[in-house]
Subunit: 349 residues, 2 copies
């Protein structure tokens, strides 16, 4: 990561983690009053939520607020962990659905519970634990210390975010078995599943608490959507080409799961007979070797798919940068958003 | 069911179903704008939510409102379907967790999706579909046509309800493997899992939208909690002793799943060697026969457990009736609640 962004993120990561820790400690007390066993289950949701993670979403929440209004950092951060806990909720259910055993370099929550309880309790408890994390995320936002009319508006954004992500989840899952998926459908999934809750959602929630106008919220969406799409496309590229250490999960897991990322889709479309034979063998093959993944890397390059996706990232970054420059937001969040966009844009392998 | 209650329920069931249908039709349009496949998935959540069900919860929501304030029935019913959709959310996840293939006499949602898509998509899609139903429930309440300060308070009740139910879900699941469960723990599960969202929650949500005071909300809780506990104990009794037609699911499913209901717990505690041997064989045995279930029925009777649970039901009904009589609520909802309590109390086999 470049130094400006690194510093800016580091400035708040510690504070965000402290606020999260405090919230989860209250939940430990609360659940412990019912039962020590319940508390143990909640304890693992705390650990899962606090381990790893760049805290990008709550930081965007804060900058969304500051785009409209200065000050009140502590109160905003307290509300902003809502989006990080929402992220935990999605990750827990996502890992069950994708049958991912690792997350951020540690075991997924369903693996943790299965070790503790056996009997398929891993998945069963993780369904409920994900649900609980969603309840917690809602609690944090509903109890935030802001005027009730702003909270109400924020809660309307909240359910729109979760709903759109879940729509995207359905489409993403169905895409695994869909032979005739189109590029437009892939972009729909990107919009629904990533842009909404990685960039647009956090920015809009923060801006809403600051009392943003409809016009300002539209500006936020126009900045956030291309930024979020570029972010996910970059993540897809890193997921295939970076090392396990860099990404905190096995390399090529999208490939093994048969996910139709833009990267894979374009490679598939442009592949010749020989290449397609290899892709057929490796895509969706859970026991694919690292050698197989390296073959896929090569095909993604040879077919021009990597180049195409990098161009798409550039286009979306430029769109976002233009909207940032044209926005009526305050200077410091404008600068942060522009730095972030440029970072995502320049992080080329 | 006795005639008064039947009439009173029938009066609103049709209206509630119409409001739900209308809401889901909007969601079909909304999801269809993204993709026809997504719409198909949402269509099944609609069907699942509309089939069967007594709509007791939204009716209690309405009476919770009317306990405080008259009029506004249409607006309240529009908000009240929130709790029915929340119920759908819980049922969908609950059926996955309990591995129940039937619900309200029809296939569970994960069975429906598995038939449509195969590949374990049944459970995967149902996790997301449950999440979506939760988002919908929140949407209905957040968009209700009431003063924003009342909506805000209602949303705080909302997350408390979902959170407590999920706490109860964890305890309920863990109880399956807990040899040393106590009667107190069983009552905790009853409070968290049932009373909250079957009686207290709906009543409080309605009362909150009507602008109830803290004192009035406390009265609601004191009526709702014993009523909800009695309701679930009655449900446990019916689940073992009624016919499949009466309960819309296989008889003795709690027994087959090894659920530690009060009925089973007391029978186990009081059983002699011979009885315990039978219980050991049948409890948690998914392929137990109807003959086995009948043996369990006999033991539940012989050990005095049925009598004990019926006494508990009476005690809780009487407690609730006393609180209803002492409350400062308006006459017509008081009468309905008293009728309902008496119905649950008298429905003896």
């Amino acid at each position: 990561m470049n130094t400006t962004i690194k510093k800016e993120l580091a400035k708040y990561q510690g504070q965000i983690n402290r606020v999260m820790k405090l919230f989860f400690d209250q939940k430990l007390q609360e659940s412990g009053r019912w039962s020590a066993d319940l508390k143990k289950v909640v304890q693992k949701t705390k650990r899962f939520s606090l381990q790893g993670g760049k805290r990008l979403r709550p930081i965007l929440f804060l900058y969304g607020y500051q785009a409209i209004k200065s000050g009140n950092v502590q109160a905003v951060l307290k509300a902003a962990v809502s989006i990080e806990i929402m992220q935990s909720y999605f990750l827990v259910h996502d890992d069950i659905i994708d049958e991912d055993d690792q997350r951020r370099g540690s075991p997924s929550l369903h693996v943790v519970y299965e070790k503790m309880y056996r009997n398929n309790f891993g998945i069963k408890l993780s369904i409920i634990a994900g649900d609980l994390l969603e309840n917690y995320a809602l609690e944090v936002l509903a109890e935030a210390d802001f005027p009730s009319v702003n909270i109400n508006k924020a809660l309307k954004h909240y359910y729109q975010i979760t709903k759109q992500v879940n729509y995207g989840q359905v489409l993403d899952l169905l895409s695994e078995r869909d032979e005739k998926i189109t590029e437009k459908e892939i972009f729909n999934i990107l919009k629904l599943k990533t842009a909404t809750y990685t960039t647009t959602g956090p920015l809009q929630l923060g801006a809403t608490l600051a009392g943003a106008t409809e016009n300002q919220l539209n500006q936020v969406a126009k900045i956030g959507q291309p930024l979020g799409i570029a972010f996910q496309l970059r993540d897809d590229v890193l997921g295939l080409f970076a090392s396990q250490k860099e990404i905190g999960k096995p390399v090529g897991s999208d490939v093994k799961e048969g996910k139709k990322t833009l990267l894979i889709y374009r490679a598939w479309q442009a592949s010749d007979q020989k290449q397609r034979k290899i892709l057929k063998k490796v895509l969706g093959n859970k026991s694919a070797s690292f050698k197989d993944i390296k073959k896929v890397r090569q095909i993604v390059k040879e077919t021009g798919s990597l180049k195409y996706v990098n161009q798409k990232i550039d286009q979306h970054i430029n769109k976002s940068l233009k909207m940032i420059a044209n926005s009526s937001f305050r200077p410091s969040p404008k600068k942060f958003l522009a730095d972030l966009a440029q970072f995502i844009g320049q992080h080329v392998l």
